[in-house]
């Protein structure tokens, strides 16, 4: 127990690090994922190709390899940024591929007739998109996006192993201070549970408000 109480600042710092990484990477992943999803459903073949390659490559890249390439490789190009920014880049790009697929299959669940009906009512492309297609797609997209973001929060642990300030990273310091390792890990595990359960609760609430009526 006193592992936690003695080192509250350290745990707090790690916890905040995890939350910060998760929030920033989620924003990046959602933005990039949306962009790539719009590429993937575009009527222009080369845009679709860009989206397809992005998803196929990133979904099949081990995240550790991506971290390795970004954290150790990009500085060789003379691009020197704080480790945290690199970690957000790697996590965000990796997750964006999964977000993209979730959004795309959400858009594909909207029946074609909806769009045809909207157009036959004289709606413009923008109106069709914002008033008819996206609201319906949004409903079915909530659960998969939620689980993708939970996966992102869990993946942020890899950043900790690459010495970004993060919850998992605290075990090293505490081990050196001679605290019991098992209890350290119990508290680390609890910290991750808090983060994942919070995201899960958020998305359950979203789902209850806007989800598809089953």
């Amino acid at each position: 127990m006193n592992v936690l109480t003695d080192n509250l600042p350290l745990f707090g710092e790690g916890f905040l690090g995890t939350v910060e990484l998760t929030v920033y990477s989620s924003l990046l992943a959602l933005a990039l994922g949306f962009l790539m999803a719009s590429f993937r459903v575009a009527p222009v073949a080369s845009l679709r190709a860009v989206g397809t390659v992005w998803v196929a490559v990133l979904r099949n890249t081990p995240l550790t390899l991506l971290f390795f390439a970004v954290l150790l490789g990009l500085p060789r190009f003379g691009l020197v940024l704080p480790f945290k920014v690199f970690a957000v880049l790697a996590l965000g790009c990796y997750t964006s591929a999964f977000i993209c697929e979730a959004l795309r299959s959400g858009i594909n669940t909207v029946p074609r007739g909806q769009g045809e009906a909207a157009r036959s009512l004289g709606m413009t492309f923008g109106q069709t998109l914002t008033l008819v297609v996206l609201p319906q797609a949004f409903r079915s997209v909530i659960p998969p996006v939620g689980s993708t973001l939970i996966a992102l929060a869990k993946n942020s642990a890899i950043a900790g192993a690459f010495s970004v300030t993060e919850l998992l990273g605290t075990y090293k310091t505490l081990g050196e201070l001679g605290y019991d390792v098992v209890w350290t890990f119990v508290w680390i595990a609890l910290g991750y549970l808090v983060v994942t359960l919070a995201i899960s609760a958020l998305f359950t609430a979203l789902e209850r408000t806007w989800g598809v009526a089953r």
């Binding site: 081990p62 390899l65 029946p111 642990a157 991750y192």
Partner: protein, 299 residues
């Protein structure tokens, strides 16, 4: 997988001649932008001296080639052990979750939900640091616990997705509980879930690279050893250029297999009483719907 051909979504009408011309223009602009980006990266690679002779010499040496191969072998070894063990663990946990005895069901649920909610890396580090285990067993233990729990959910939802009439008919024929499971429900469930199972194995294959972080001598570790060698002028980029296609290629092959199996099973008459899951790994939302049967818009 639904093709994203224009017109397959609700978004666009079939383009007319003017729209087609506009799309062609966009296409040319995109291609130009992509080519410019590629050219810029290649220029950067040359500019920062990534194609110098010294940086690429290590790959000529047999010792280093052998080291890379050994690393690849270790990666595949960890993957094979973890895959077999997590399939076994998944089967056991799924049986527990489907049990008629409440304590068993309850225990299995707790185990599955806990290990699904934990980052794999935390488990691997726990086994490695706290239990002081060798890197390979630690990696395999972490991967097995996580993927086993996810697979348990996949198996369970597969069994639940088999049409109710199948179970009822089997009971009506006088089969016992175990017979109903082993002869009727499980064979259909496994067929239906095979794409999701293979996709989860892709996750396991990708996660073997976490062994790098606990000094397991796998593929990435071998790469790191070469990359941090001063004699060859720290060839990080060459190592990434050599290693990533192999890693990504392996995972892509396995993903492709999952998609192929999904298409094949969907056509098979043996999956008529159950919906085949799409080739996607399991979801992570606690109480979330695992991939497949209930996902809207798919057959």
């Amino acid at each position: 997988m639904t093709a994203a051909a224009p017109g397959a979504t609700a978004l666009y009408d079939v383009p007319g001649p003017r729209a087609r011309r506009r799309h062609r223009l966009y296409g040319i602009l995109t291609t130009a932008a992509v080519l410019a980006l590629v050219a810029w990266v290649v220029y950067l690679l040359f500019d920062t001296g990534q194609f110098t002779h010294t940086k690429w010499t290590p790959f000529q040496y047999e010792g280093i080639q052998r080291m890379l191969l050994r690393g690849l072998g270790n990666t595949l070894k960890a993957f094979a052990i973890a895959a077999v063990l997590s399939l076994a663990l998944g089967a056991v946990l799924a049986a527990g979750r489907l049990s008629d005895h409440r304590p068993v069901r309850w225990a299995a649920t707790v185990v599955v939900e806990f290990f699904r909610a934990m980052p794999v890396l935390v488990m691997i580090f726990f086994v490695f640091v706290a239990l002081k285990v060798q890197p390979l067993p630690a990696l395999v233990a972490g991967l097995t616990l996580y993927n086993g729990s996810v697979l348990a959910e996949v198996f369970r939802s597969g069994v639940a997705a088999v049409e109710r009439g199948q179970r009822e008919a089997a009971f009506a024929l006088g089969m016992r509980k175990t017979q109903v499971m082993t002869y009727v429900l499980v064979p259909q469930a496994v067929r239906a879930m095979l794409p999701a199972i293979i996709s989860q194995l892709v996750v396991a294959l990708k996660d073997t690279s976490l062994g790098f972080l606990i000094t397991y001598e796998e593929f990435l570790h071998a790469g790191k050893l070469i990359a941090s060698n001063l004699d060859y002028d720290l060839p990080f980029i060459p190592v990434v250029v050599v290693i990533s296609p192999i890693y990504i290629g392996m995972c892509m092959l396995l993903s492709r297999l999952a998609h192929w199996v999904a298409r094949w099973e969907r056509r098979s008459p043996k999956t008529e009483a159950v919906d085949v899951a799409p080739a996607e790994p399991g979801t992570l939302l606690p109480r979330g719907v695992p991939p497949g049967p209930r996902e809207p818009g798919r057959q």
